[in-house]
Structure formats: C-alpha cells, structure tokens
Symmetry: C2
Subunit: 351 residues, 2 copies
DNA sequence: CGGGGTTGCGCAACCGATATTTCAAAGATT
DNA sequence: AATCTTTGAAATATCGGTTGCGCAACCCCG
C-alpha cells in the first residue's frame, strides 16, 4: 500500500539507510535512530516523530543487521546444533525454536553434528568467535563432545542451552519429562493387564536412553512388577530390530514392549513379524514420541506424544533470558504428554 | 596445540580484535588486515608477515562477522526457505546445502514457509532488506507465493535459486530429473509384466507433481500402455490414502501403482489393506524418493532414490556463482537416481 | 529584563573491520 | 652530495548504525 505512494512500487529498490530517512524527514540520523528505537532519553515533538516514522515507512527502511550488530554487540542470531536433521523429532523441536525466535526478532542458523560429520562442534566455536551468534541451542546427542565439555567447564563464555538433554553439571538443560512419559506408557500397558513388560532402550551412554529406562523401572516397581526385561539398541530402525530380536528370543514370555523411539518401533514391528508374533494379539507395542506416519503403519502404532514444539519454544525462551542477563536455570516441561491410542496395544493373550 | 602456548589455554577468552593483533605484532591494523587477507597490493617483509600471522594465531583471532559484513557488503550467510522441516526429503537437501556452504565459508539460516505458517515469504524479504543474507535458497512448494512472484519479476534484486522446483520464467532452477526417475519407476514395474499401471500424483498446481505425471505418461506411451490411471492427492499420508482409495475403487483392474512421495506411499499401503489387496501379490507399489524407514514397512517398500544431497550441494554452488557475479543458469541433475528394490513389487496376479 | 531550567535536536565518537592514500626511510642514480 | 625511486608501513576515510554529550532556542520566574 504505502509502497505505491513512493512511485517506486516494486522496482528493484536499493536499501535505504538511516541517513536517507534522516534527510527525508529533515533531522539527523541520531534522532531517527532514537525515534525508531523508542529511546526514552530522546525528547522530540510528536510531529517530528511522526515525520520520521513516515519517512522510514516510505523508504521501507530496515536497519542493516551487520551495522547494528557492530554497534550493540548483538547479532539477533542463534545457532542450533542438531545431531540429525532427518530425524523428525529434532525437526519439530527446531520448528518450535525457529518460530519462537522469529517472534522475538531472532533468526536461527543450523549446524549438524552427526556422527558422520563431527565438525559440528568446531563449527560452533567458529560461529561464536566470529561474533555471528548470540547464543547456542545444543541438541547434540553425542556424549562427551568437546563442545559440551567446554560449555560445562566455562558456562558463562557464551549463552547456551542444552535441548532435550540433561547434561550433568549444567544448569542450562531444557528438557521434557522423559521419565514421566515412560511411566505413563508403562501404566497404559499395565492397564490392559500386561505384567511381563519389556523395554527397548537406547545406547546406555546417552542420557535420554537412561531416562527412559529409569521411568520404566520406577513405574514397574510401583506396580509390583519385575522391571528386568531390558534390551538396548541404537535409536534407529536397525537398533530396534536387533534389540527386539534379542529380547524376544531371550524372554519369549514378554507380552508388551515399551520402545524408546519411533525409529526403533518400526524395527521392533519387523522383528515381531520375523518372530511370528502378531501385533497386538501376541505382543503389544507402544513407543515414545508420536509422528504422523505412526498412524499408517501396520498396525497403526500406539505412541506417547511429547511436547516437542513446546520444547523448542522453551529452549529459545531460556536462551533469551540468558542473553538478557538473567541467571541460567534449567527448565523441565512437566506435562503435555499423552498416549495416543491406536492399534498396537491390546490385552495380553489369554494363555 | 597452539592455544596452550598462550598460557590462556581454555580460559574464558575474550574476542581478539584486529587492533589486538596489530599491537602484539607491532604494526598497524591495516597491515594485519591485508596480511590476513593476502592482499596482493601489500608489500611487506616476510618477517613482518610472519610476525602478524603468529600473533593472529596466538590470539586465536577471528574477524568479527558483522564488522566485515559492513565493510565488504557480504555476510557469508544464505537463507533456506523450506516448506516442511519434518519432511525428510527437505532435510536431506538441507543437509547437503549446509555442508557445502560450510566448505565455502558460508552458514545457512532457516525459515519455514509452511501452509500453517505463511509468514515465510515476508520473513525472507526482511532478511534481505536487513542485509542479513547474501542469497536465498527457495524450496517452498507453495505455488504463487508472493516471494516467488517477486523473484521471478525482479530476478536480479537478490541472488537466489529455486531448489527442487521448476519455476516457470526463472533461469535459476536447480532440479533433479523427476521425469527421468518417474520413467525409470514405470519401466521397473513394466519389467515385471505390469500393464495396468496407475499413478498417485500430487496437487496439480504443484510443479513437482505434474513432472511426475509427465514422466509417467511419457514412459507409458513409449511402452504402448494406457497412461490414464491417474489419481491426485496431497503429498502426505492422508493424501495418498484418499487417492489410492479412490483409484482402487474406480479402477480395480490396476495391478501396480507408482506413488509420488513416501508419505503418500504409506497411505497407499493402508488403503490397499483396507481394500483387501495384499502388497505385492495383488498390487505392486513403488514410490519416488527413498527414506530409511521404507525398509521397515510391511512390506518393505521399493522406491526410487534421488540424489537429494547432491541437489543441496548443487543449489549452493549455483548460488555462489551468482554471488560471485556469474550469470544465472538453471541446473539439472540428470542421473544418480536408481530403484532400490525391496518387497513391494512383484509380478501381477496370474488371473 | 536577565538568569536558570527545560525542550528539541545536532555533533561527533565509537563498534571492528576493509581499502585507498600518504609518507618516511632506504637504496639507486647521476 | 643532491635528487629520484622503491620499499614498507602508517594514516585515514568508510561501511551503517548507536549513544553520550553539547548547545541553541524557548519558557518561566522574580
């Protein structure tokens, strides 16, 4: 609308600078800057403010990010270190983070710290050293990465939060309640009458894996059931397949499985087929984390959904507080998880 | 290594600036800058160069990105506009792009332009106007987004490429050979003896959808087969389910389906089950794009894999050329696709 | 009518780099 | 010995903002 009034419309505009706005409104750039930033120390006539605002609007003025960063020593940028982009769990967290960041005037750039591309940590310090970012969102699942170690040792060197990970010794963990969700999953299975419940866990050196196992065992204990049916595998299809294969042959009496990730669950389903067990008649399966495709597996997979989007939001909020100078504090998102019932859980076989 | 020689080791370092390096090496900052940037117009004694280099190393000097951006009018940043972060297709492209960008000294920031968050386009122009980015990677699937229209009309206003999308009227499309891959899929099905082959296509206003259909029809024609079994649905599970449901009831004689996306294929499998058709005995299914989980569906899904990583790499390379001043040119990745045979394709039923 | 206190805004220094210009000292030339 | 070139590096302007301070003009008051 206002663009057309300039007559320039959608012509290949050149960037308008502060001085351009100043010239057009007949004041100096310092006044323009203060008006646009609502500097309370500035005394200006309302009509002057209005002229400035109007000129800025007319020119489509936007402060140059680099110049501003230079001045105020703030970039308006966060970096997100992610272990695996193709894992939709992280994608959802990232989405929540990006949106929240945008609401706060921040943008986020991505680095991947996959096991096959271990450059992530180094890249991070490059970003920090180059003054490119104001803070780090670290979702790396790799234990004892040099980056994590450095951050734990010098927590104040740069604003940061660990996302979906409880790093020992850090007061900057933003997490969901994995244990609570795991307890809920077990409770759900038990409500169908299952007693011999097993867990497909993850690599024991990964904290999220042990949290699931802890939740599992604690709820089993509360129910007076034996929590000894544990098998560990990688957090992917292959890992789930292998762990389930092993557990099903070691303890064929198991009637229900709590699985740590969706990827694993897909593998578990394959292993169950291979073992000649039909889900859910001969074996019930529930997994941590809900993804859309779960609804279309055969059978449709019962899951417990986690507030991953909220996790991303909370992570950015926590980071913003640090940037704003507030003391660091871990955040745990306690609820907002729920089992989404589908077709992979039923009562145990009569036998 | 060199860090420990400073004695500061891993202490909470403060950023070293150009002047710090200058002071330490006993020259002025202009000399330091030119030495570090290999300015050919600078004449300096080798020993002076060495002193500067050593000082920079010792201080762990890294130029401040904002300051440099201000000076050279380049940010070292690209932005990637992505329609759906949770879609692993885009994740793989993004991964390739990020890695390549990093090799070239660039970082990439993400914006999501989902249908449920249509702010993406606006965010983009904010990024450009604020001088935050040197170029745009546009993978938005949304047809006629205002951003796309603006870029097509003023192609030189900002460096950009369209990724995995053939935008009419643009010379900046970086694509894979969807038609060729589609032809390959059809050929593969035909090699099993299928003649009544159908396609589950996508929204007709999305260019990638029509490309698949075109490839399908052209190969069917080449084979002397009728290419009339077409059903369209959204590119997700739901869309695949609905389209397949419709096609299977409309044309029950179909013996094989070429499906446009993995998400759709999952829905197609569900629809087949619902229709009482067992895959692959009563119905063969192959889909465009390979993802790890395809191997664990029931049955394991035969797919045609695409060079998505290479696509991301090529997109960044094309963008870099534009930034470097080269004339824009579309790029098509012609081969590197292949069918990965699994369990969802077999010979048509004898009947 | 002159002095003190606002009101409203301009001046100029910085932020940390890059790039062009200037200049002192050393060596070559006559 | 006096001038002309080179060599090597210092000065300085600039990029586009932010921010502390200064300073007129205006007001009110005695």
């Amino acid at each position: 609308m206002s663009e057309t009034t300039t007559g320039a419309g959608n012509a290949p505009r050149v960037r308008a600078r502060l001085v351009d706005v100043a010239e057009l409104s007949g004041v100096t750039k310092s006044v323009v800057s203060r008006v646009l930033n609502n500097d309370p120390t500035l005394r200006a006539r309302p009509e002057t403010r209005e002229r400035v605002l109007e000129a800025a609007r007319e020119l489509g003025y936007r402060p140059h990010a680099g110049a501003r960063a230079l001045s105020v020593a703030r970039t308006g940028t966060f970096a997100f270190l992610i272990p695996d982009l193709t894992n939709s769990v992280y994608a959802v967290i990232l989405r929540g983070a990006i949106r929240r960041a945008r609401e706060l005037g921040y943008v986020v750039l991505i680095a991947e710290d996959a096991s096959h591309a271990p450059a992530g940590a180094e890249e991070y310090s490059e970003l920090v050293d180059a003054g490119r970012v104001d803070g780090l969102l670290v979702a790396s699942a790799r234990p004892e990465s040099p980056l994590v170690a450095a951050l734990v040792e010098h927590p104040d060197s740069v604003a940061h939060v660990f996302v979906n990970r409880e790093v020992p010794g850090s007061r900057r963990n933003v997490t969901v309640d994995i244990r609570g969700a795991s307890r809920l999953a077990v409770e759900y299975l038990a409500s169908f009458g299952h007693e011999r419940i097993g867990i497909i866990s993850g690599p024991p050196d990964l904290q999220p894996a042990v949290a699931r196992t802890e939740g599992f065992k604690s709820k089993m204990a509360d129910l007076g059931l034996a929590g000894d049916l544990v098998a560990a595998g990688d957090f992917d299809e292959q890992g789930g397949f292998e762990a389930a294969h092993e557990l099903l042959s070691r303890a064929p009496e198991v009637t229900a499985l709590y699985v740590s990730t969706f990827g694993q669950a897909v593998g578990v389903l394959a292993a169950a087929r291979e073992a000649g067990r039909v889900v859910p008649d001969d074996l019930s399966v529930i997994c941590y984390d809900d993804v859309p495709v779960a609804n279309y597996l055969n059978p449709a997979l019962t899951t417990v959904s986690m507030p991953l989007n909220a996790l991303g939001v909370a992570a950015v909020d926590a980071l913003m507080e640090q940037v704003g100078g507030a003391p660091a504090a871990s955040v745990a998102i306690e609820d907002h998880f729920a089992v989404v019932p589908r077709k992979s859980v039923a009562a145990p076989p009569a036998s």
